[in-house]
Every structure is written in C-alpha cells, then in structure tokens.
C-alpha cells in the first residue's frame, strides 16, 4: 500500500489536544500536513501541542463542540475530520448524566451539521467496544446485536454512530467508524494502568483493586490504533458508508497480570492486594470485553503487539523509562 497520509489534505482534529488526538497531531505535522485542532481542553491540556501552536505549525481553537457557530467557521476549508472529541471518562457518566449526551451525541451531531454546511465529506470517528454491552454471547463482532450498552458512554457512542449513519445516507457523508478496544500509551490521565501506577507511587505496600480483580480486556498502543485507522481509511475508500470495524488486538490482559507488569517495572515486591469486592469496578464497568477483530484482519491489518506486550510498553512510557513520539518515520516501524 502506498503512503497512509495524504499531505495535501487539510485535517481537522476534534479533541486534538487529548491522548489520542495529540499523537495524531504529532504524526500529521511530521508528515507536513495542514492541521487544525479543535479542543475545549476540558479533559486535556495544550502540553503536547503547544510547540506547534507557538510555531504556527497548527491552527488551534480552544472551543467547545457545543458552540456550533464557531465550529462551523473553524471547519471551513478542511478536507477531512478526525473526530476524537468526547467525554472519555466512563465512570463520570454515572454522576454527570448530561455529559455523555452533550459531549458525545450532541457534539457529534454538531460536527456532522458543520460538515454538511461546509461541504466536507470525510470523517474518521472513534467509537468504542463499550457499545456492545452485555447481552451478546461470545466475542463482540461488528455484526453482533442487539447493542445494549451498560454505560452512558457506550450509549452516547451508539447515538453518535447512528447519527453518522443517517448523515451518510441523507447527505452523502463518508464515514469510517472504529470501535476501539482499550487504547493505551503515555499521555493518558485515566484508566487502570494510570490508576495502578499512581496508587503504587503513593503507597508501595498496598494496591487497592476495584472489583474482584477478575477482569480481562484487550489493550493496544495508541500508535497501533492510529495506524489501524489510517490503514482502513486508505484500504476501504469506496464504502459502502459508514465503514465499521472493530480495532484492537485479539489478545487480552487480565487485571492481575497488569498489576504484576507494573510492579515488575517499578521493582516492587510483596505488595498486598485489597479488593473492593464488587463485581464491577464501577457502575457501567464491563469486567470482560473480548473484541472480535477478524474483520480488520481480513482487510490485512493486525496489531503487532499482544495485549500484555502493549501494557508493558505503556507502563514503561508512563514511568518515563521509554520515550516515544509518533511520526511518519516510526509509524510503519511500530
């Protein structure tokens, strides 16, 4: 396949200051693309993109996706939308109900409306494995149903997917929807790896684990995630739209294994575990998520690292033992 990034395209990244978004910006800037970042900085900072802002390598809007007037104006003149802006904190949806509705469903809808008004056709959308919920038996495939999400985060993503689908039909939008496994790496500010490291930095003797410690999910690195998106975008150019793929590894990591990797990398021994004992880590948590990735495998894409390998690399990066910055040069070497 030829190059994954078309440098002549003008890219508009929502949530571009965040965990995945800032890596996308690193990559696109290194490829010499014209990039605009639109982010309200509610769950992120400009830390990872501020050099680009000051050197005017990117255009930055500290604005909210709910501000439709600004969004529409900012989007003008772009060719492709990489829509990552969302509420990313799943447990928060339990107490702040309107958040997922506003920041996922309404935000996505505003993005679509602005695209129609600016005659922009292409959108890459990050959905989630959380849309599958708990009624599906076996691994979660794209063809699985019914979708009964257990969190408002999952519900907000279903809503977004549904709106995107309608806009594909009604307004000829071309959309690529990705249902992610758990994306990990540096620059995260939540999630189990981040949590465990912070707890162990505070107290090296005891690790509190939410739930029974029996959870098992698939984890993959942020650069693999971005590669998978660009790969699919280039591979399935002609639709039918929306294009939908699960994106992740086909392996998983158990919670206890994750904690062991962290302790090894932190050189901690004899840490005592305390389990909160509830069956779920938090209301809306899904202890076991097994994503069926055979569809993207058929397209020719595989995650190169297993889930456990990815966890170790992410841990080392979070501990500062490894440095990583995504660019066109290391994207293929991932």
């Amino acid at each position: 396949m030829k190059k994954l990034i078309d440098r002549n395209k003008r890219w508009f990244i929502t949530g571009g200051a965040g965990f995945i978004g800032s890596h996308v910006v690193d990559l696109l800037v290194s490829a010499g693309c014209k990039v605009t970042v639109y982010d309200n900085l509610r769950s992120s900072t400009t830390n990872y993109i501020k050099d680009y802002i000051t050197s005017k390598k990117i255009t930055f809007y500290k604005k909210d996706l709910l501000d439709q007037t600004t969004l529409r104006k900012a989007m003008k003149g772009h060719d492709i939308i990489w829509h990552l802006g969302a509420n990313t904190n799943i447990p928060d949806g339990f107490t702040k109900h309107r958040m997922d509705l506003e920041n996922d469903a309404i935000a996505t809808w505003n993005v679509l409306e602005s695209m129609v008004q600016n005659n922009i056709k292409d959108i890459l959308f990050s959905s989630t494995g959380a849309v599958y919920g708990e009624q599906i038996t076996g691994d979660f495939a794209e063809t699985s149903g019914p979708l009964i999400p257990v969190s408002l985060y999952g519900a907000g993503k279903i809503a977004s997917e549904a709106f995107i689908s309608a806009y594909c039909n009604l307004f000829d939008i071309k959309a690529w929807i990705f249902r992610f496994g758990n994306v990990i790496g540096e620059r995260t500010n939540h999630g189990i790896i981040y949590d465990f490291i912070h707890k162990l930095k505070k107290n090296q003797k005891v690790l509190e684990v939410l739930g029974t410690g029996k959870g098992e999910k698939n984890y993959f690195l942020v650069e693999e995630c971005i590669h998978g998106i660009l790969y699919t975008y280039n591979k399935v150019k002609k639709g039918p739209f929306p294009v939908l793929v699960n994106l992740g590894t086909d392996s998983t990591s158990k919670i206890m294994k994750i904690s062991k990797i962290i302790m090894e990398e932190m050189n901690l021994k004899n840490v005592k575990y305390v389990f909160t004992g509830t069956q779920k880590g938090w209301p809306g948590d899904q202890p076991v998520v097994l994503l069926d990735t055979s569809k993207i495998h058929k397209l020719g894409w595989y995650a190169k690292k297993t889930s456990d390998q990815a966890v170790r690399i992410a841990v080392r990066r979070l501990l500062g033992k490894e440095k990583f910055k995504l660019s066109v040069d290391n994207l293929e070497k991932r």
Binding site: G93, F94, H97, R98, L101, A105, I106, W109, E113, V131, G133, E134, Q135, A141, E142, T143, S144, G145, P146, L147, I148, P149, V150, S151, L152, G154, A155, G156, K157, I158, A159, A162, F163, S165, A166, Y167, C168, N169, L170, P242, L244, P283, G284
Partner: protein
Amino acid sequence: MHILITGGAGFIGSQLADFYLGQGYKVTVFDNLSWGKEAFIKHNYANPRFKFCKLDLLNIKELNMNLPTNIHTIFHLAANSDIMRGADDPAIDFKNTTQVTFNLLNAMRLKKIKRIFYTSGSGVYGEVGKVKVPETFGPLFPYSMYGATKLAAEGMIAAFVNLYDMQAWMIRPANIIGPRATHGVILDFMNKLKKNPKKLEILGDGNQNKSYLYITDVIDAIDCIWKKEKNKISVYNLASDSTITVNEIAKILIKEMSINEISINHTKGDRGWKGDVPIIWLTNDKLNSLGWKCQYSSKEAVRKTIQVLLSKSL
C-alpha cells in the same frame, strides 16, 4: 396500578390509553399535542382514572414538576414520528426523540420510577435488503434521522437500566396503521385523491415492500410483552407475517374509494424520499414465542384502515 403514557394523545398512545383504562388501570397522559389531538382523548376526560397533562418533555422543569412518583410503568411513545421531516431538519428528530428520552430517563431516576416500555422503530435497522431481520442483527446503520435518534434512545435506555436497576421493554415495530393515524402513505394517498380523484402521484417506483400492522395487533403485542417478559431489558421486533407494496396499497385504496378512471404516475427512483428504506422485513419469531399472533395480514390491515378512515370513525 398507575401507568403513564408519553405521546398519549397520539395515534398509538391514545388507543393504548383507551385499552388500559378499559382494563381498570389508572392512566396519566403526557403530550405536547404537536402530533397528538385532544379529539383522541377527550372522551376519557370524565373518567376519574384518567388524567391528561399538556406537557413538552423538552421542558425539564415542567416534566419534573408534573411527573407523579407512584408510576408503575411509563409507556414512552412521544417522538417525532414523521420520517420525511427529519431529512430537511435533523434537529426535529434529535430533540423530540433522543433528547426527550434522556430527559424522561433522568426524571424517572429522580422520582425512582423503575420501568419503561419504549416504542423504538424498525428504522434502526437501516437498509438491510431482502432478508428477514432478527433482533440480534448488526451492525445497525439507520438511514434516517428518525431511525438514528430511536437507536440513540435505545442506547440511553439500556444504560439507565443498568445504572439504576430499572426494567425496559423496547419494541421495533413495522408500519402501524389504523384509525387516528396522523400521517403515512395511506393518508397521503387519500388526501391526494380527495383533492383530485383522476390523478395519483406515487413517491418512488411503488415497489417499496414493507410490513403493515393494524393498531389492535400492536396494542395486543405491547400488552403481551409488558406482562410476560421478565428480563431486565428486552428488544422485540413487531410486524405482521406478510408484506405489501406501495402500488398494491394504491390499488386497494382506489378500489375502496370506487374510483374507476385514474392516471398513476411515479416519481423517479426506488424510494419515496431520502431516508426511506424500500424494503424491510422483520422476523416475528421472538414475539410469537411469547404467545402473540397477529390477527391481520398486511393487506387486511391496509384494507381495514382504509375502510375505517373513509367512514371517519375514531
């Protein structure tokens, strides 16, 4: 037992209210009367077990103020039900289907109301083609904002059920017809023919092939699911066992209206409008296994609806 029906002055809601009043339930109706009509409910005003509240679910303050606490189940039927309008103004569906559902769920949480019966729609499936679609079908790619916003509402209901220990029944019905219908292909044709009985314009090629359900079959199905399904969350397709094309509907109507000479012309393409899905076939197996059986075929449902609408009885 006290139940509440949102959209309870509308086509389906008002007949559900009649049905449960007849069974001895206490029934409260919320409706903003945008599609609903007082004419459909005013015969119940004298009934002490009936209460009507003109209310828009977008108004959170009013909703919370007027929502009683002791409701057993909320039958949530309020929605934008006009698929065509959604293509011109997507905001209509978003507000009146997704946002109102969210508002209602949040109000239920505050009032500790635990059960919701939701009328979703077969529009969530999008364009699947000539296959029988079960409830487990995926992925769901709705073609209209109507379908998209219903799917969004389903997702939110599922999340609330899990987070707040509620129970939800969700149905995905095919086209529902019968007295008090406020729009749809039959009414559309009828109005056109009343204006000009010599000419009928059909949107699309007329080969759109779907299942039509008579309203009484729908009420039976809702009652059957509500009373028999014990799972915390359930999804049911709802259709008659047969389908009918738009051209066949036109033929029946022309015959019932005793029109002899008429020129029929079709607009271009295979569908009526953007967002229309020409063919959707649902399997009924899950619902049948609960013991429900439809009384009217699609054709019978169409003929009966036409006869009732022509005689103008409510």
